[in-house]
């Protein structure tokens, strides 16, 4: 097999890359430009709401660079997990941007959309058939949870993307996909060793984050029969055996074994060798295919509606007794509203807002505290009223040693209480068996 070269412009589309590094990488003769665009890492909000993780301006700017270069060089452009959540809404949003770019730049090419929404009924049927597995979630998937689910996607493997490329797509906008698939799909379609391509995808999907120094920037991978070589696009960065090996740890639990749809990647025998000053050769990944093909479901539901208030406390007598005051304010507000759905949390910056129960420093050393009053209820207006009520109580809370009777909170904003909208939480993060890798990921092609 001839070597396949993949250019990945950045670790997540819209987070930026150096255009000079991109152009330099284009000079290395890539066969495909491929980038990941989503993750669960920013939380379930984007999945649930359908809002894009990265604003349109940034996506359009970077997609323009990629598509102009890709069409110019006659090589495909692949984007996985469009819009962050990878729902149909996200795919349509990004496909619109692609059409706009084509029109503005006068480019003609074939666009593929690949959808990843999973019909709720399909998942319910899988539950009834015993074809859903729990693996990392803290809860079991149930039909009730699926009824509450407002968005459900499946993580596609490389197969739907490879299929879109086989059908002649020049630009592929894929919905939710396993992070490495955008990168591995083209090489696998062209006959690359699957283990090497998938492992390379796991490194390239974060762009130059695996380089030294790491950053959101261009990374190039060349995959051959039994190894691959990675090199950053920017001459200001190097791939080192340490930086590349360390990336096997990033955002993953197990650096040795990583499961994907239909396969398990075994990295126990990986070797990392410095092939020249700026590139690293990686070999030794092995892949095993399961008898059945399981995909990961990701679902989101609305847990309520949030309102918040941000306030500062400077008076030492209030800081001294902040726990008692906040307990009292919470109790009073819950009593006032008599709404079982209402939850009031206080994030006390300067004490334990970041680590809460895992915070080893138990004493407050700060001369001021930041408090975020965080109210969630089934009704947005109740949450908003509760936030206003609680912050008002804190403002005028009477206690022994109360000096500033005019008001004991500093609000940086007016209005002090802000409606934050729906609170999305994960309702599914489970494995579901499918008949084949293409079953649930429809491919739609159009000529632009």
């Amino acid at each position: 097999m001839t070597e396949i070269t993949v250019l990945t412009p950045t670790g997540s589309l819209g987070y930026g890359f150096d255009v000079e590094a991109f152009n330099r990488a284009m000079g290395m003769g890539p066969h495909v430009i491929a980038v990941d665009s989503g993750s669960t890492d920013p939380g379930p909000h984007y999945l649930g709401s359908g809002q894009p993780l990265v604003p349109r301006i940034s996506i359009k700017k970077e997609l323009t660079t990629m598509i102009v270069a890709g069409v110019g060089a006659g090589i495909p452009v692949v984007v996985g997990s469009a819009g962050g959540g990878g729902t149909n809404t996200h795919v349509d949003w990004m496909a619109d941007i692609v059409r706009e770019i084509a029109a503005e730049k006068g480019l003609r090419f074939k666009l593929a959309r690949i959808y990843a929404d999973i019909p709720i009924e399909r998942a319910k049927q899988a539950l009834r058939d015993g074809e859903v597995q729990r693996f990392e979630a803290s809860f079991d998937l149930t039909e009730d949870l699926l009824d509450e689910t407002v968005a459900l996607v499946g993580q596609m493997g490389h197969e739907p993307i490879s299929e879109a490329l086989r059908q002649g797509a020049d630009v592929v906008i894929a919905g939710r996909a396993v992070d490495d698939c955008a990168i591995s799909a083209f090489p696998i379609w062209k006959g690359a060793d699957e283990a090497q391509a998938v492992h390379m995808g796991k490194i390239l999907e974060c762009g130059a984050l695996a380089a030294d120094p790491g950053g959101m920037d261009v990374m190039v991978g060349r995959v051959a029969d039994d190894h691959f070589v990675v090199e950053p696009g920017s001459t200001g960065r190097r791939a080192t055996t340490r930086s590349i090996a360390a990336h096997s740890l990033y955002e993953r639990e197990n650096p040795f074994e990583q499961a994907g749809p239909g396969h398990a990647l075994d990295l126990h025998d990986c070797r990392f060798e410095q092939s020249d000053d700026r590139s690293v050769k990686v070999s030794g990944a092995k892949i095993a295919h399961g008898e059945d093909y399981w995909i990961k479901l990701e679902g989101a539901r609305i847990a309520g509606y949030r309102a918040i208030c941000i306030a500062g406390v400077r008076c030492p007598t209030m800081i001294e007794r902040i726990d008692d005051i906040l307990d009292d304010v919470r109790r009073e507000a819950l009593d006032y509203f008599q709404d079982n759905s209402l939850k009031i949390e206080f994030h006390v910056y300067g004490r334990d807002a970041v680590m809460r129960g895992m915070e080893p420093e138990k004493q407050i050393a700060a001369h001021e505290l930041g408090v975020v009053v965080d109210c969630v209820a089934d009704d947005q207006d109740v949450a908003h009223a509760a936030s206003h009520h609680a912050s008002g109580e804190m403002l005028h809370y009477a206690y022994p040693g109360w000096y500033n009777t005019a008001g004991n909170l500093a609000f940086p904003y007016s209005p002090s209480d802000l409606k934050a909208g729906p609170v999305y939480v994960f309702s599914a993060y489970h494995l579901m068996k499918v008949r084949d890798p293409l079953e649930l990921f429809p491919i739609l092609l159009e000529e632009l």
Partner: protein, 108 residues
């Protein structure tokens, strides 16, 4: 009593991050093979010692690995709250590493 050092003085990178919405993972990366092996073999970086540094039960530790290829120690917790559930404090989980910086290990 034998001299001890803090992990922050021996390892240049100590980081935390989500590993999916239900796990919190910590990486300790060394830049010196001897130092890595010293800490790895010291018996100071264990499920028990790490859990104690965070004041959580050992049962909250999901896994612990030595990853020689990257001169790295890795430990993963079940997340204290599901990511972005009510009560979330750190959506990306990337400011939970500090107790590991202060973990006491035998001085090299």
């Amino acid at each position: 009593m034998a001299a001890t050092a803090k992990l922050r003085d021996l390892a240049p990178v100590i980081r935390s991050k989500n590993a999916g919405p239900f796990r919190l993972t910590f990486d300790v990366l060394f830049d010196d093979q001897a130092m890595y092996e010293h800490v790895r073999d010291s018996g100071a970086f264990t499920e028990k010692s790490v859990a104690a540094a965070f004041g959580v039960p050992e049962s909250q530790v999901s896994s612990l690995f030595h990853f020689d290829a990257a001169m790295a120690l890795k430990v993963t917790f079940y997340r204290p709250t599901d990511q972005c559930a009510i009560g979330e404090t750190d959506a990306y989980g990337c400011q939970q590493h500090v107790p590991l910086m202060d973990l006491e290990v035998p001085a090299p």
